[in-house]
Subunit: 244 residues, 2 copies
Amino acid sequence: MPEAAVVTLVQLKTACSGCSLRELCLPMGLSSEEIKHLDQLVSTRKRVKRGESLYRSGDAFGSIYAIRSGFFKSSTLTEDGRDQVTGFHMPGDIMGMDGIGTEKHACNTAALEDSEVCVIPFGRLEEISASIRGLQRQFHKVMSREIVRDQGVMMLLGSMRAEERLAAFLLNLSQRFVARGYSPSDFNLRMTRDEIGSFLGLKLETVSRIFSRFQDDHLISVQQKHIRIVDVAGLKRIMGQEPG
Amino acid sequence: MPEAAVVTLVQLKTACSGCSLRELCLPMGLSSEEIKHLDQLVSTRKRVKRGESLYRSGDAFGSIYAIRSGFFKSSTLTEDGRDQVTGFHMPGDIMGMDGIGTEKHACNTAALEDSEVCVIPFGRLEEISASIRGLQRQFHKVMSREIVRDQGVMMLLGSMRAEERLAAFLLNLSQRFVARGYSPSDFNLRMTRDEIGSFLGLKLETVSRIFSRFQDDHLISVQQKHIRIVDVAGLKRIMGQEPG
DNA sequence: GCCGCGTTTTGATCCTGATCAATCTGACCC
DNA sequence: GGGTCAGATTGATCAGGATCAAAACGCGGC
């Protein structure tokens, strides 16, 4: 029996080739041949309960992680104790690449709901990607997109007003939900107003107030953590308008 | 004559192995064997005059660039025309990695003074790094550090007050200058107040006012573009203090 | 030397979002 | 059911930085 045909149940269950997220995640755009090599690499998974950390700033770096299910936030903290949310992550997203440069993680990443991640040992990823061009290229793309994403956040923090930031935030979430097969207009926020505020450089009261204002203007409807986007075009209009 | 011994003058001149920046740049930490492979890759240079763009948002991506001499800024612009400076780059820095993910550059990068960059064809970098483990690892580290750097800027924009941002900015420049063998306390800014403000999410008047205030407090001395840091500890104290 | 222009500095005023504080909601527990 | 507690909403006031405006500086060109 050829070795390639020996596949245990566990492997099948964790295999990228059978994963519904493969078109969003690391295997994106790879041939089924190439994905088979990934399957060997991504063999362990890890559950993280709501509130627990996947890794903390300063932890030794060894693996990157792909979200299988659930929702995460990343945050960094300054010497003087303030911390800031630097990103929210959902299924298919890759986390942990901040640790490659120094061999230590540079942020804290915690689950906002019970979650499961695929563990990708980084040393082995480098080994395998050295021989599989498609995989190497794909990994570089993932890192590059992270850089571009961060620059988008810098843009948001540096040059948008509070309403624009919230509108951009909701539209971004909406897009990412729809890419994962969920409703673009109807979803539950996994994070608190405080966490949204931290991410957007606003105070939680401001976030709450603007949600209420958006609701009064019939752009969205809010009920605690549940959001329904009523007027996408209206939100886009808010994002694009000059201050004043 | 063995091929390895055939080195033209041009190659020598552009070689990483002879470059004074090699401990800051892509070759950082590589063995001299490994650097020789890089030499083959990094064979062309490009001059960019003050004010000219190295690449623009939307340009087809083909290479990344290492700064040999000079000074650059990167900026992105929103649909509605506002643009924001996302970073300043100095010798040894690698630019252009934003383009890998989509095969198109995602920001504009322009020279703030007459500059020279080493052109690193990305396809060839991937090829060579597939066989040279150290180079592959090093490139991943460079990308990862870019991600961590961007998160630092997000922190700055999202949770610091104007004075803290300026103090952090000056201390960061100082550190980077000293790593390149320049004075940590005495330097010329290559960018305008407006560009600093754009980067820090402040208006140019605010930047100017805070420079003046720092001068009144004997933390720095400013004369147009020339900065002398007088009290590093004082600047650090400003960075670390709670709002109030 | 003088002029013109881009950049910087400084002043006066305004407004957005922060801060302080009180109330409300919903989930969970006994 | 009542009690508790974290999170969310709403109101009143404050202040940091934006905006508008004018003057000063420095540099290149003639």
